[in-house]
């Protein structure tokens, strides 16, 4: 029986990083995710696994430390919250442009600006559509529990190295702060030097006689070279869309009405589906687990089965655009959201659902 420990989502990120062989974490304090670095500093993994943990002078610096570590082929990560992620967007663009693997956790809070410190999902567009300048995407994973936080670190690193791309774990203040039982999966050791050379022959590990020197750069200068690179990225994203979409369905088999919600909102929507089913309304839920790539095909399929869809988000309606694009007019798509750190109750959602669908 695997060990289960009660911990916050943020603590799960830290413990998972250590147990899954992360080489380095570089961060800067910001609510509501400061427990990630606090936990790492308390655990002192440099004494056990050799993992480096460093508090940087800013989010700008921490993402660029991640860039430096990723250049070396190391499993490196950072975490922050919305305003900090804005600062990191320059670095994320460079990481995507240089095709470097890393994991970035965004424990979202309400915005814009300094905003609130309460939970929100208002960085969907920023993170799912790239965030920084230039044509690029990051793989975006949306955890809904402390267990997800634990599991997505390892999954994130796997995807990051498989595709040489930044991976964002798009969490929020609820998932980060909530305490839940977390099963500690078997540990993975850090990569050995030999493994690293095999996995990342492109990395700046020091020029040896058997290869030309490695350069990590996102600079092209010539339009044709840049365009070719952009198209290479596009081809990579197509493979990711083909192979890595992940979603969960709840009561969709006979559903006539579909909720679409990610992260903490999907947990609330499960209760909404239960409540509506008790009232005889055949509701179901699709929870995108990956936001990029998005479960477009599955939503297309479901659009011919259901009477309507409704996205439930802690923002002004961001993912709803992607659902509408997927459905392409095949069924009505509604939206209900709360903002600024406020959270909807199941009753509130049931009322809005009935209003949208003209049900009593």
């Amino acid at each position: 029986m695997a060990e289960k420990i009660l911990m916050k989502g943020n603590e799960a990120i830290a413990i998972s990083a250590i147990r899954n062989g992360a080489d380095g974490y570089f961060g800067y304090p910001i609510t509501p995710q400061s427990e990630v670095m606090e936990t790492l500093m308390k655990e002192r993994p440099w004494l056990t696994t050799g993992m480096v943990v460093l508090q940087a002078e800013s989010e700008t610096s921490s993402i660029n430390m991640v860039y430096g570590g990723a250049c070396c082929g190391k499993k490196v990560m950072t975490s922050s919250s919305s305003p900090g992620i804005s600062l990191m967007c320059e670095g994320l663009s460079y990481l995507a442009g240089a095709e470097l693997p890393c994991v970035v956790v965004n424990c979202q809070r309400g915005g814009p600006g300094l905003g609130t410190i309460q939970p929100s999902q208002s960085d969907y567009n920023q993170c799912v559509k790239g965030g920084g300048h230039g044509d690029y995407n990051a793989i975006v994973l949306a955890p809904a529990s402390a267990q997800d936080m634990y599991d997505f670190v390892d999954w994130g690193f796997d995807l990051a190295f498989k595709y040489r791309t930044p991976v964002i774990i798009l969490a929020d203040g609820i998932v980060g702060q909530m305490m839940e039982k977390v099963e500690l999966r078997p540990e993975k050791p850090r990569m050995t030097k030999e493994e690293l050379l095999k996995v990342a022959p492109w990395a700046t590990t020091g020029k040896t006689a058997d290869r030309p020197y490695n350069v990590i750069t996102s600079l092209a200068l010539e339009s044709d070279v840049q365009e070719k690179f952009n198209q290479k990225l596009a081809a990579k994203y197509e493979v990711i869309r083909e192979n890595e979409v992940k979603y969960e369905e709840y009561m969709t088999e006979d559903a006539e009405y579909l909720f679409v919600a990610f992260g903490c909102s999907s947990r609330i929507c499960e209760a909404v589906v239960d409540q509506l089913r008790e009232q005889g309304v055949k509701a179901g839920l699709l929870r995108p687990v990956t936001l990029f790539p998005f479960p477009t095909k599955r939503l297309q399929e479901l659009s011919s089965q259901v009477k309507s869809m409704m996205t439930i988000e802690l923002n002004l309606g961001q993912m709803v655009d992607d659902v509408r694009l997927a459905v392409n007019g095949a069924c009505p798509v509604g939206f209900y959201g709360r903002q600024g750190g406020n959270i909807f109750t199941p009753d509130e959602i049931v009322d809005e659902f009935k209003k949208f669908n003209n049900l009593k």
Partner: protein, 257 residues
């Protein structure tokens, strides 16, 4: 005597270090970068540390330093090289890690990164090229531009009231406990270049001693940006830059008094 005779090993008195690639440099004739690149390359060769060296290039003219030195390179976002170097060195303590940055990169947009890398005592080498101007973007004012100096964004000369004062960084970071060696050099004469090379070598050696950051500022010319001939630029540098940025060691924690 034909060319093959001349190329015989016994006739060779000088050889380009293999750490310099054969790529044609994009730098303007008269620019100091080529000389500094050569000095860094020679130090790497003489110390036998090609396999252990990781360079980090900035944004600016020397962004393409990675085309010229035969070591592994990372190309950083503007000003962020010390952050990359921090992680690279901490994750690979056995490596020699150096950044190569201009005055716009290091002393303007990258002040937070360099100051905190110094303050944390990162065991890295920083090569800082101070020519008082943004070369790559067409000769705009840099933080180190002298008062009265004309640039593309100070066409009537730098005015303290309008543009502030020149930023003299080396003495500032010399006050930080995390720095081990701070020196200011130039490469405008053979003697100066030899001294600069000795300083660069010392910086690389110090970076493996665990005593903190080593910083080699090179007061340099940008004759294109300054709109002067290379010779005139050297003269102008001696007369105008050196009084504000005097050459010599500013801090050396291992120096015997």
């Amino acid at each position: 005597m034909n060319i093959e005779d001349i190329k015989k090993p016994e006739n060779i008195v000088y050889k380009k270090t293999p750490i310099l690639t054969d790529n044609v440099m994009h730098y303007c004739p008269g620019c100091s970068h080529g000389t500094v690149h050569k000095l860094v390359a020679e130090v790497i060769e003489e110390m036998g540390i090609q396999e252990e060296t990781i360079g980090i290039s900035p944004v600016g003219c020397s962004v393409f330093a990675y085309n010229y030195l035969n070591v592994d390179w990372q190309q950083a976002a503007h000003g962020r090289a010390p952050a990359l170097a921090t992680a690279t060195k901490r994750l690979n303590p056995e490596k020699y890690v150096f950044t190569y940055q201009g005055d716009g990169d290091l002393a303007s947009i990258g002040t937070a990164e360099i100051i905190h890398a110094c303050s944390r005592g990162e065991n890295i080498v920083v090569i800082f090229i101070n020519n008082g101007i943004y070369g790559m973007t067409g000769g705009q004012m840099a933080p180190t531009t002298l008062l009265g100096m004309k640039t593309a964004t100070t066409p009537y000369g730098r005015d303290a009231k309008l543009n502030g004062f020149p930023l003299v960084l080396a003495p500032m970071i010399a006050q930080l406990d995390g720095t081990a060696y701070i020196t200011r050099q130039s490469v405008h004469t053979a003697v100066a270049a030899r001294k600069a090379k000795a300083a660069i070598r010392k910086a690389f050696e110090y970076s493996q001693k665990g005593i903190g950051l080593s910083f080699v500022e090179i007061v340099a010319t940008c004759n294109s940006g300054w709109k002067m001939s290379p010779t005139a630029a050297n003269k102008w540098m001696v007369e105008n830059m050196f009084p504000k940025y005097p050459l010599g060691d500013i801090k050396d924690v291992l120096k015997q008094e």
